[in-house]
Amino acid sequence: MLSFRVPLREAAMLVIAAIILGFAYTGFTKRALFAPPPQVAGHSTSAHENASPWVAYQEARRLMDSRAALFIDARPEAEFRFGHIEEAVNIPFDEFESKRDMLASISRDTLIVTYCSGVGCDLASMLASRLRDDGFRNVKTYIGGWNEWSAHQ
């Protein structure tokens, strides 16, 4: 009868090694689990129909097709120029202060959807947080970002 003892011990070693490597890699590169979480505090979105600060692809597509939201690309200008969601405006998170004037004429109740590269990217959620701090009451983040959007085109 084949013993499972040795394979189980080997499997346990592999799982532990994968956990260490995975967390070390994502921690070092500040991706996925270690990307800064979105900060929704400060402005409640509970008054809105959908209080979730996240938007999935289908919802983002619907909002774009119906022109129901202002899409803001939080990536650097170079990445924006390589491709972006149609109708989106580019306000790189790092240049938020200098480009804040672009939003001066926008109503604080406007539905805004921020995005960046994808789930592992934190620029969109950080920009969303800044926008909420600026008084925008209806800000969401499209988590799939440009990677997912462009793949659907």
Partner: protein, 170 residues
């Protein structure tokens, strides 16, 4: 008239053993490359892979991120393990468990009518859509992992090399 002696091949059993060893090696290479290739895209962008996991609508974002952090590395290590012949049976056992779980997830998603990307080889949502063929593909891979797990031959592996080396010198 003197008859020319006929040379008989003396070791047919050894030939059979070599053939089995080669077949096991081929299965190991196929399965190992499959999992190494499957892991690369996910390791490169764990966030996007987390989105693929979220698409199955079974776990929260936090859980998806933890899975996306660890699973690609487990696939890579197991793939390299059976390729190089290190921790072969442990790797085969893990690959078997992962493949059974993946298959169950695909079946579950199909049963719920989800039209999503598998997330098996790439996080690209337009590639590798789930379907019945994916279950067949996984079944073949499961068979491969079972063959490797139960194979008595670990020839052409680092484990075999080190065992022979140590017994030769000891």
């Amino acid at each position: 008239m003197e008859r020319t002696p006929v040379m008989e091949r003396p070791t047919t059993e050894a030939d059979g053993w070599l053939l089995i060893s080669l077949l096991v090696l081929i299965v190991r290479i196929a399965l190992g490359i499959t999992f190494v290739v499957a892991s690369i895209d996910k390791i490169a962008d764990p966030g996007a892979f987390a989105q693929s996991i979220l698409n199955y609508k079974l776990v929260s974002l936090d859980v998806a991120l933890v899975i996306a952090t660890v699973l690609p590395w487990l696939e890579l290590l197991c793939g390299l393990g059976i390729l190089a012949g290190v921790l072969i049976r442990g790797s085969a056992l893990l690959l078997f468990v992962m493949l059974v779980v993946f298959t169950a997830l695909v079946v579950s998603a199909l049963a719920r009518g989800l039209d999503i990307s598998c997330g098996c080889f790439t996080w690209d949502p337009t590639a590798d859509r789930i379907g019945l063929w994916k279950i067949g593909e996984n079944a073949l891979l499961v068979l491969g992992s079972v063959i490797i797990f139960y194979a008595k031959s670990t020839r052409f592996s680092l484990e075999h090399y080190f065992r022979v080396s140590s017994s030769g010198t000891g």
